[in-house]
Symmetry: C2
Amino acid sequence: MTVEPPEPSGQVLVASNRGPVSYTRSGADGTLTARRGGGGLVSGLSALGADAGTWVCAALSDDDRAAAEAYGGRLPAEDTGGQSVLMLDIPRETFEAAYNGVANSVLWFVHHLLYQTPLEPVFDEGFEAAWARYRAYNRAFADALAEEAEQGAAVLVQDYHLALVPGLLAKRRPDLRIGHFSHTPWAPPDLFRVLPDEVARELLLGILGADRAAFLTGRWAGAFTDCCAALLGAEVGEGTVTHQGRTTRIGVHGLGADAEFLRERASRTDVDERLAELRERVGPGRATIVRVDRTELSKNIVRGLLAYRRLLTDRPEWHGRVVHVAFAYPSRQDLAIYREYTAEVSRVAEAINADFGRDGWTPVVLHVKDDFARSLAAYRMADVALVNPIRDGMNLVAKEVPVISENGAALVLSREAGAAEELGADALLVNPYDIAGTAEALHRALTLDQPTRAAHAKRLAEAATALPPTAWFLAQLDALRGW
Amino acid sequence: MTVEPPEPSGQVLVASNRGPVSYTRSGADGTLTARRGGGGLVSGLSALGADAGTWVCAALSDDDRAAAEAYGGRLPAEDTGGQSVLMLDIPRETFEAAYNGVANSVLWFVHHLLYQTPLEPVFDEGFEAAWARYRAYNRAFADALAEEAEQGAAVLVQDYHLALVPGLLAKRRPDLRIGHFSHTPWAPPDLFRVLPDEVARELLLGILGADRAAFLTGRWAGAFTDCCAALLGAEVGEGTVTHQGRTTRIGVHGLGADAEFLRERASRTDVDERLAELRERVGPGRATIVRVDRTELSKNIVRGLLAYRRLLTDRPEWHGRVVHVAFAYPSRQDLAIYREYTAEVSRVAEAINADFGRDGWTPVVLHVKDDFARSLAAYRMADVALVNPIRDGMNLVAKEVPVISENGAALVLSREAGAAEELGADALLVNPYDIAGTAEALHRALTLDQPTRAAHAKRLAEAATALPPTAWFLAQLDALRGW
């Protein structure tokens, strides 16, 4: 299918929790300094041209809120690189309850199957108050979008933070073309039913308010439509869900890696320096198994370490010949369970080093301080990349490593990652719960003959970059507009 | 359909982990004392007549093993009430690993969705050793059944402990009619895939070795066939699963309450005495909300208490007018998580009594010592029965209370219990995770007008006894034989 460029006159609005700019205040006068981020939405929206679109986002911090207030929400062009950005000054308590109390705790946990169900979740007064604020936060977005949108504009609403926005907006502005994109997995009905009935219903109806609801893989799209059928009694057709006389199209867009950006960034001096440091740390002639993750419960870092331990136990020939380079960057340390998980990662890594290490060989090199240049250096040096989440919307590490790996890294990949749908044919797929199976896959990855490894690596890099961020964004927009 | 009686000549074998008799040794000479149990299999098999069938079971304890050894496995008729019982003297380590290491930890947890997935399960060397023993334990049953069965006999294999038996037995004795019955829920594919691939495959193929695989509800049967399709690529037809040229029929038999037994037992003096004690403890004129459960993670006792607390918070008019009679009998106290859960139950109950109780009114009466007569007394006195498991194969408490309740107890029932499929129309169904929703259902149950409550209670008792244990057993047998 030939994708035609979007009509320059058509207004496009993007709505997401996190915007393309964040602020920090400093000094006695509270000078606001803007910092621009990257990602698929940034490059996609900028590809439309400076005047085509507006980005509606939330103020995430007190400093963001100060900026939103100072600028009446409309951020200055010099801060945004010319992009029109409307930053919503949502009250702190509302934002915190919506973001932490609902989205990142409950919805994230449900979609990633993370709950210890006998005790969690407990839907009590605390949750009810948070849910009321999640609604208010979604209403704030819907209000701003309704006001901002020209007749017939396209609105691309992002992720589980804003699941109610399509429904709220469609009621007020039936003239708009509304899309919703889910960046997470979706829970099967038996787990989605954990949510209070009215909450589950509102979330599904919220997304079904969109003209088109899209997902990272067919698997998550299928889980969503299963939930619509099981909980709402909606009619699921070929790529559609129909409920209460309204039909929502269902789409899939597998976000790919940004090869151009990665290659450029990974070739800079700071990455070269980190690479030299890492090589020295690992030692000459040793193979590396690399992982880079936030220390997120779903990323399965502990079982990754246990699988590496199992490799060293079952295959002593690897002693002194391999190093597991594990970067586990802190995440959500305000939550006790994340702190415990982070501590467990360190504990297991230290135990492996204590039990197997010897003079001149440290089996696990664990870094917990975020350093993007060092992550890219690790990607470059990887012989094997270990990406074993228990559940993951896509997992971009699995797509980024193949792009800049210098050794044609073999990919040990969880079948529960969305990326498995596109990369599975050239990866060593594992059941992320299975320690022995993962250890065996690591061994096979380390011993792949060079031609096979090179052939896999080439195809992995192709598949990983099949839909780079800008194309991913434009494909959503085109599909929404029916082009 | 008219169910004809089974041919008296047809041999029937029942295989289950727990048999109809258990032993205790006492005295210096180790005298063995037999104790007979009850249940659907006991009454069903005895209905066939003393000579028709043999029960093959495992020795569960050292005393059982001593008995199995002393009698060469064939228990004396005076111990079994005439029933032919073959008790397998499986080595203790094999039994413990199969029973605790696989069945009651891993399989139970998977089917009830109990795991905290970021950290559990970990399939390591310990599990592999346990799995080897689970296989050995299943082989011991298959061997005994293959030896014991006459040409063309019917074999009814029970539950998740013996999932491999049908497959093993069918290979050796293709002449047999083999049925398997699952007494638990079944996990959806996304959770069943947690198991190591080969383990998941063996379990499904094991059950598909049966000519007929039956479940307590259509929901669990559907989850099983979903797993067969998703993991094996099996072909799912109307009531069948076909894989590798072999077709297994899928059936549903919703085990009902044994009204005759319950009514007789509940009318005895010891129950009358317990009832008088409970009435005094509760106090005159107060409504009772009754729950009776093992302290099993899936039973959701903590959220039940939290819902009761919420009722007292939201509806102060109930202060002094209601008592929550909660029996939570110890279960699996060898496992840390069960001990913690049991402690949490006590903690929450005490907190409610501390926060709301006053002279002459104890809001929660919690008993943790198992006492069947007292349970029946509580059933008799219940105004409301609270049955709110997060997931349950059937839940017989929900069916037993309506049979002997004196006040036409209203039933607050989790929609995740198998019983909801049959009783849902006359129960107040709740989402077991939803504290506010459960509290509201308790309030509605307490305030149901008498005619409505009586009408519900009548229909609940009818539905609960629609398929009493003997009929349940014979229906399986008839369906297996194709009568």
